[in-house]
Symmetry: C2
Subunit: 297 residues, 2 copies
């Protein structure tokens, strides 16, 4: 790639700005990542990691049972029963969601439940919640719970995962009791925060999001495909725990309850790279990167 | 499409919620659109409308000379000099931007300027600014200026267009004087608001965004393609004014300084459709839809 190409992203040389009282003052994200310790990372738990294998590759989804234990238990049962194998991506709506499930609603649920009570919110009490000091349009507080972007009313109120890009939720009909986890969607555009607290969120895509985001858009209502041949088939969905160790993705994600993560947020709130002339000063919960890396084995 | 498929979007029957003091109380966006008058819409100005023709179809971009007159004049000169014809999409970065220009930096600029002083912000005074009452993470005020999402410090301070999904900006090097309009990008993910006031914004995609958003992601640094054959070629870029009338897209966009648009915002701030159980109560400037339709001729 020609070096003369104009770029809008960061340059390699950090510029030291007049800095806030933070240990991250002057650090770029690259600096923060380079200085991170092994204890700043955690491996994905195979019991809470789902592989969605498409003809184009593997999508890795981390599930958050602290928010939706019943739906995630049901998803595990569905995956172990091979429910998703041979189903398809049925919907791809521009700047909204990509959704998958059984287009014919014919496949047996096996031992899984066909519907579940909603898990839209839960008590904030008991969650390890790293609060972001920045104001948010939609919620009293936003932040991170063990790697997932989240919001809460207060430490004593209710909490929920928020609809950032790459977050995964449970499709349902108008009745809130119609979700099961058999039909899932991922946010594929600007954070669809209007959906917060209206849907059971189950996790986030940690790798392979580009396999979903580039699916051809559907031209039916709400981005559903009009013809079966437009759909992307799902080869299989498996829990990582059910895949031989040698075939696992073996990923680590950055912990979100550490000084390193606080430093990383600051490195994005006020970009230090020379390209940036006006630091934003604040950051939206959905603009905080959640680093993922291959585990060193 | 099977009716039993779980959906996460709106149902056809609106639910009347206990309503705010608004003429939009109880109206869904579909209701607001159905009730809109011809005067709620404006045709795109052919002098400020750019067609980017790709092998897959046409992208229509509305330019905003009230924010970046010099860059837009230069883009017009480049388009009229056929500068963009045969160039390519050179970058597609997941949840960030898609960018196009001259990968070899060899093509003559003709009568266009090779660099321009930045137009990152301008005085808010003189702009018809529809203020959104909802709080924003990044700016003191957000809202809309003649169809473009924007922010300002105050009515007397500076104003700028914001990096919502589909907004188009000018690539540059570290030096702020290196932009020209010859290399452009579009936001393809969650609003990259950290770029606000760091880039000259020139407009927004009003049609054909899916042709850009589904481009295969580049695997080089910052999503640049590593191999020339991965790039999407640009057939041509033309100003609508330079295209015979019969070949124009003939689109209208909703005006953003009307009661109808205020009603539309309210219909999205608090969704009335039966599917929604908890109205958001607030809305982010980048979640407000900007309706586009084919003009009735």
């Amino acid at each position: 790639m020609s070096k003369s190409l104009r770029m809008i992203a960061f340059a390699a040389v950090p510029l030291l700005l007049a800095a806030a009282n933070s240990s991250a003052a002057g650090k770029s994200m690259a600096d923060v990542l380079a200085a991170s310790k092994p204890s700043d990372w955690r491996p994905l738990d195979p019991q809470n990691t789902m592989y969605m294998d498409l003809p184009t590759g593997r999508v890795v989804i981390e599930l958050a049972p602290q928010f939706a234990p019943n739906h995630i238990a049901n998803i595990r049962t569905l995956a172990r029963g091979k429910y998703f194998d041979g189903l398809a991506i049925v919907r791809s709506q521009e700047n909204y969601v990509v959704q998958w499930g059984d287009p014919d609603a014919k496949k047996s649920f096996g031992e899984a439940k066909k519907s579940l009570a909603p898990e839209f919110t839960r008590p904030a009490a008991g969650l390890k919640f790293t609060v972001l000091p920045d104001p948010d349009t939609y919620a009293a507080q936003t932040g991170f719970v063990e790697g997932f972007p989240a919001a809460r009313e207060s430490a004593q109120g209710s909490a929920w995962m928020v609809h950032c890009y790459g977050m995964v939720g449970v499709g349902r009909d108008n009745d809130v009791n119609t979700g099961s986890g058999a039909e899932l969607y991922v946010v594929n555009g600007h954070a669809a925060r209007l959906l917060d607290r209206n849907v059971t969120m189950v996790g986030r895509v940690v790798q392979g999001m580009e396999l979903l985001s580039t699916t051809p858009r559907g031209h039916g209502a709400m981005g559903f495909y009009e013809k079966p041949e437009e759909r992307t088939p799902i080869t299989q969905i498996r829990m990582a725990a059910d895949v031989p160790e040698a075939e696992r993705a073996n990923l680590e994600v950055m912990r979100t309850d550490t000084q390193t993560f606080t430093d990383l947020i600051e490195s994005r709130r006020n970009r230090r790279e020379e390209w940036y002339k006006v630091p934003a000063g604040r950051i939206d919960v959905c603009n905080v990167p959640l680093p993922v890396r291959k585990a060193k084995t």
